[in-house]
Every structure is written in structure tokens, then in C-alpha cells.
């Protein structure tokens, strides 16, 4: 009893920052009692989200996504390849997620972070299973040539909800993608046609006559929630993620159909009702993200 009293005295005398570092769980629970979070957000609210298209000039399509201070830079480079025998009229997409050591003090150089490969896999699963991209559209000459889209996503600042930010930047990069103009040369090989010699292109066999956009069917968006006791915290920061370990990621497409649901273990067992709450939060979030994306796209078109 005396010991308990002693520690409560310790709590009251301590400075806020020290308390936050020494007793992170208690610190957060104190906030949760009042239904706010240390950064003054409500439990179900996500952080400010911004998007910028065309952030990388050397890529065919690119986007920079920021959720709070979590920053993702996604860029797509297109290359011509020979399609596989199984799907001769389909292109292909390779998705890679990188966490360079600049992004977080936890990532050490040398071997890649474990989280990076997990998120790579999740991203390609979400993008392929949502059916956002028709791979047939990436075909150039059936059986001979098709596009290979290399999507590289770099995490520049890791402050929680990495998957959400990565997916957002990936979708935005695809919507910014301009498929370059190519033509067949004399040897029957594909050559890129630069913008200066469009006339020249017309004399040769144009395969892809003009720069075109990829059609995106109902792109997916996601929201990660943390479960802690009876609380649901949407869009957690890295600090929250390190303290409360049960996360649920909900991926919905633009028509609010469920694409994937991911709960990688954790100490809290989620009831069906909790999952439903998470999905409801995700729905609200997807609406927000859709308007953010549409806004930057329409801004681009005006320019």
C-alpha cells in the first residue's frame, strides 16, 4: 500500500515529458479516459493528410503522400518486357516498399527492416485483389511486348500507419502515371519516342500512339486502427503503435466494398462489433481520402 502511495506521489511530481517516457502506457491511458489523444485528436480521427502528384521528375508517375508526419514517396517507372507464356496479353506490376535508414531511428542499415517486406506483400495483395488495374491494359503487342510497371515506394519518415500512407501514395502515383509513347523500330524492338520527334514516330510503326493515362477501377484506400481495452484509435502514430500492439487494417475500395482485413495477432481479441466499428471508421476515412485524391487530380488537370 505504502509503495503504491509512493509511486502515485512520484507521478504527481514528475514533469509531463518524463512521465511520458517512463510510463508511456499510463500516460496514454490518462488521455484515453478523457477521449482525446496526446496530439489533441479525437480517438476516431485521422491526422491531416496531404498529397502531391509528380514529385519525381525522373519517373513516369509519382506522388508524395503525408499523413501527419508519416511521409511516403512513390514512383513508377515503365519498362517494356516480353509477357509470360501463361498470360500473353497481360502486363505486369512489381511493387516494392523500401524503408531506408533515414526514416526511423529503429531501422538500422544493412539488412532491410522486417516491416518493409511485410508491407510490400500487403500492398501488392491489396492492389491486385482490389482489381484497380486491368493488366490487359498494360499489353502492347499480344504475346510480344507488354509493360512492366515498377512501383517503388520509399518511406521518408515513419511515424505510424505506414501501410495506409503507402497505399495512398501508390494509388496516387498510378493516377498520375502517363504511359510513355513507344514504337517498333526496324529490328522489331521497342523504342521509346521522346516528345521532340513525334513526327518521326508517325513514319515508324506507332504502337502506343499517345501518352495515355491508366484507367483505375475503384482504387482501394485503407485505415489502420489500434485496439486497446475498449478503445479504438484510428490512424495511430509510431509512439502509439509501440505501446498498444493490437492493430486492425481495413482496406475498402472506392465504393466501400471490403477488399481486405488484416489483424496480425496482438493481445486484444476483437469482437465482431469492434470489427464493425473499425469498418465504419474506415468508411468515413475513405470518403476523406477520396476527396483528397480527387482534389489533387483536378488541380493537376487545371494546370
Amino acid at each position: 500500500m505504502a509503495a503504491a502511495n509512493g509511486s502515485s506521489d512520484l507521478y504527481s511530481e514528475m514533469e509531463v515529458d518524463a512521465f511520458r517516457r517512463l510510463f508511456p502506457l499510463r500516460y496514454h491511458e490518462q488521455h484515453l479516459l478523457k477521449f482525446v489523444r496526446p496530439d489533441a485528436r479525437k480517438l476516431g480521427n485521422a491526422r491531416d493528410t496531404t498529397l502531391a502528384l509528380g514529385a519525381v521528375a525522373s519517373a513516369d508517375g509519382s506522388a508524395l503522400a503525408k499523413i501527419g508526419s508519416t511521409t511516403m514517396l512513390a514512383a513508377i517507372k515503365m519498362e517494356v518486357m516480353t509477357p509470360t507464356v501463361e498470360c500473353p496479353d497481360e502486363g505486369s506490376i512489381a511493387i516494392e516498399f523500401h524503408m531506408p535508414p533515414i526514416c526511423s531511428p529503429l531501422v538500422r542499415p544493412g539488412r532491410p527492416a522486417e516491416a518493409a517486406s511485410v508491407i510490400s506483400k500487403q500492398l501488392s495483395d491489396a492492389i491486385f485483389s482490389s482489381g484497380m488495374i486491368d493488366l490487359k491494359e498494360l499489353c502492347l503487342v499480344g504475346g510480344k511486348a507488354a509493360w512492366m510497371a515498377y512501383l517503388d515506394i520509399y518511406c521518408l519518415d515513419a511515424d505510424g500507419s505506414l501501410f495506409d500512407a503507402a497505399l495512398l501514395s501508390a494509388v496516387a502515383a498510378f493516377s498520375h502515371l502517363n504511359i510513355p509513347v513507344v514504337s517498333l523500330n526496324e529490328d522489331g524492338r521497342m523504342v521509346l519516342v521522346s516528345e521532340d520527334n513525334v513526327q518521326l514516330k508517325l513514319e515508324k510503326q506507332p504502337v502506343n500512339t499517345e501518352k495515355r493515362k491508366l484507367k483505375l477501377n475503384s482504387p482501394p484506400f485503407s485505415l489502420t486502427c489500434l485496439l486497446h481495452k475498449n478503445y479504438i484509435l484510428a490512424d495511430p502514430t509510431a509512439e502509439e503503435e509501440s505501446i498498444m500492439e493490437t492493430a486492425v487494417t481495413v482496406v475498402l475500395d472506392s465504393s466501400y466494398q471490403l477488399v481486405s482485413l488484416y489483424k496480425p495477432g496482438g493481445p486484444v481479441h476483437a469482437h465482431t462489433s469492434v470489427i464493425q466499428d473499425c469498418v465504419a471508421l474506415a468508411k468515413r476515412r475513405v470518403k476523406e481520402l477520396k476527396s483528397v485524391l480527387n482534389e489533387v487530380i483536378s488541380d493537376m488537370e487545371v494546370e
Binding site: V56, A57, S58, A59, S62, S69, T71, L73, A75, I76, K77, E79, E96, H98, P100, P101, I102, C103, S104, P105, R108, P109, Y150, D152, Y154, L156, D157, A158, D159, A238
Partner: protein, 243 residues
Amino acid sequence: MEYVNPEGLRLDGRRPMEMRQLRAEIGVVSRADGSASFEMGNTKVIAAVYGPREVQNRSQQMNDQALVRCEYSMANFSTGDRRRKTKGDRRSTEISLVIRQTMEACILTHLMPRSQIDIYVQVLQADGGTRSACINAATLALADAGIPMRDLVTSCSAGYLNSTPLLDLNYLEDSAGGADVTVGILPKLDKVTLLQMDAKLPMDIFENVMQLAVEGCKAVESHIREILLENAQTLVIRQGYGS
């Protein structure tokens, strides 16, 4: 190929003695102890500094000075053709070493014994002069992290094409096969810490080219100082000591 046209303009419209536009920002990575992005025209790099922190590998710990480590990596989409495996190849290892030695020379390592300082630089867009841009970004990031330094190291490159010395080469000029002199200086002490050149060049021309690069470094330095001062002022205002 003609790299300087008869009117005296370069491929990208600059004059021979003209630098590309510089742009810098401090504090771009929230969780790093210090960070900065640096742009020289289309070359764009980002640097983050972690430390001084505990030495990760005890056998590398030094009792009289800090251990400085550096890693340079290029994003897959940073160059014209997408390339894979841009980490740990010979070129990156060499540049990592160059940056580490240059920065180590100006950090007061003896003030932080038994600790480690990590400098990570990531190239987001490459258009020649990544080496210089990385050094400039690293300097800003170290200053942002509050790590004691002798001076602000700055770097710039210069070359010699069509019998004209050119300042701050871009990728096209860099790959033309002429001389490429990368210089890093400590501007206040007026000393050269880094000098790399890989081509044949007569002695008197080399001196001219190097002098040009040094002038470039000084221009970078005044820009970096401005950025740091601006950043310090905003910090002061945020802390409430202003007005």
C-alpha cells in the same frame, strides 16, 4: 557534341559560371535528430542524422572519439533507367566512404567519446553532382542535430568541356567524359577537405577549374548559412523567446 554554344550558353541554358538553383529545407524527417533536404537543380537528396547515440557494435567503440558512420543510397527511380540493387554496390560504398571521411573531418568527434553518429543520405532524384548535394545535405542535417562542428563543410563540382571551365555539372555534362572536379571546403578556415578528379587536365587549367569549384562551394555556404539562420529564427519564435 557542343556543350557550350557560340552564345556562351550551356545545354540547360546556364552560363559557364552559373550554378543551378539551390533549395534547402531543414527538419524534414520528424523522428530523426537532425534532417535536411537539399536540391541542386534536378538533383534532390535527403539526409538524416541519428545520434550521438550508444554504439551499436561494441567492438567498434572508441574511448577517445565518436564513431561516425554514413550510408549513401539511391532510390530505384532516381535515374533515367530504373536500376536495381543501388545499395551496397561499389559506387555507393565509395560515395559513403567519401561522405563519411569528409564529415568526420569537421565533426568535433573528441567531444563525444564512446558514442556513434549515423548519417544517412538518400538520393531521390539524380542529375549529376549527387556527391556534392549529399555533402551539403549532410552538413545541414548535422547542424540541425546540434552536433558540434569545426565549420560547415560545403561541396560543389566543376568541369572542363569545350575548353571552358563549367560550374556545377549536370548529368549530361558529367557523362560527357571531360574532367569532373568535386571539391569540399571548410569555408571559414579556407581549407580543402575533399578533392576528387578523374581525368587528364593540364596543371594551369586544373587550377582554374578548382578555383571555380571553390567559388561554387562559397556560394553554397552562404545559402546554407541563410537557411540555418532562418531556421534558428523560427525556432526562437516557436520557443517564445522572440519579439
